[in-house]
Symmetry: C2
Subunit: 292 residues, 2 copies
Amino acid sequence: MQLIDGKATADKIKQEIAAEVAEIVKNGGKRPHLAAVLVGHDGGSETYVAAKVKACEVCGFKSTLIRYESDVTEAQLLAKIDELNHDEDIDGFIVQLPLPKHIDEQKVIEAIDYRKDVDGFHPLNVGRMSIGLPCFVSATPAGIIELLKRYNVETSGKNCVVIGRSNIVGKPVATLMMQKGLDATVTVCHSRTKNLKEICRQADIIIAALGKPEFLTADMVKDGVVIVDVGTTRVPSTETKSGFRLKGDVKFDEVAPKCSYITPVPGGVGPMTICSLMKNTLLAGKGLLKNC
Amino acid sequence: MQLIDGKATADKIKQEIAAEVAEIVKNGGKRPHLAAVLVGHDGGSETYVAAKVKACEVCGFKSTLIRYESDVTEAQLLAKIDELNHDEDIDGFIVQLPLPKHIDEQKVIEAIDYRKDVDGFHPLNVGRMSIGLPCFVSATPAGIIELLKRYNVETSGKNCVVIGRSNIVGKPVATLMMQKGLDATVTVCHSRTKNLKEICRQADIIIAALGKPEFLTADMVKDGVVIVDVGTTRVPSTETKSGFRLKGDVKFDEVAPKCSYITPVPGGVGPMTICSLMKNTLLAGKGLLKNC
């Protein structure tokens, strides 16, 4: 069993990005510039945005943090998005989700110019990805694919089971896995799937993204399986200072011995997501969708 | 075994649409107006466009056919698309594919205002469909789903195998089948799939869309399976006036006896595609994406 080290991989990729940015700047180019809009003071969101700003530093990007109190109106937020869309110095920007309930998240996502949508949530980026056109792929699916590539996991003709059909992980990662180049035979399972155990036991690769701690157990997988655990549920813990710890969707201790490769939680997919955002920002700086 | 009669279903739906249009007109509303752009004189394209114009008549739509010789420039075509995008009388329009090689099809598709893109090929409609937002779903996938619904084929929790990963059938129909409401467990197979026979034998529903005549044989399916045959390959024939006949992807004679439901070729999915285009045009006339 080989552990897929998301942390080390993400660090390595960030160094590669930093080297490329240094080269761009050396040749008279502009540092990529990411803006992040943060509404309110949700603990999780604060942590994520801080980590994104820090990753920008590591990569040599310029970053701008725009804060609003949680009583910001939808109109104010949309006005700021319009401003960022037209700000030529900003290459890409994100609006950290979730937003307060009085703001329509989908409206906000669709207001972002898709050419600056480095989160890849805009329907135009989702559609372009499905068709196989240049696009910003959302961070978690992109991070999963990158991990499999870096560890030389063979995907062509392999049976890949995706558990979960969310718009931000399950559906896009399934789409990516079946594209030409990756060529996996992909099955998408979800809450209505009747014979999940049987389906999982036939899988060469399982991507667990359903958000149920320790859902996938040893009896559900075959020997030699590759497992990507996307789950990050906070469960109470007396062993940590914060009072909680992250649990994946896989019962790691019993499943890991059966795997050829497995991603741990934490330290697997998690660190890769911010890294994918950095990659998208670099691509935005290089004008990926400028003429699209 | 029950034959799924696409022709009769399509005729019924067109009558329903005609009744709705009559009601709209009676209440002072406007007839939906579809425009079709046809470039050159490809036999297949001529036939399809003529059938679409005729279907418009049946549904009580206004239709406009715009013809170009095959030496039309890309710029001329894009100018016409821009004109149609801004023509308030046109609710929806299509550009019949394929286009001559000197014209970039993807560029043409993306030039169409997605709010008038009744073919549902624009990446924004593809993305909106994947996310589950209101959109124009492309004709063949929409027609397949409509057939299954009209015949009360249970999809929830069923194992659905899609053979083929094309942008116009395989991928979108897979996305639709896994959405909430249909809730199938979906597997997408393709040319790189290694154990296709084994996978198909576990399927409750098979949607064959690979374009290989009589590819799916009796030994590849289980008893009671539901089969949707999307294949329409022209094969030479001495029995028809035209000198060819349409063959599906399923070896019908030997597979049909094992099925609970099966669509024939011709007369299955084929007639439903134009019917889906009519449905999209009706929705466009009613302003489906006007405020999106």
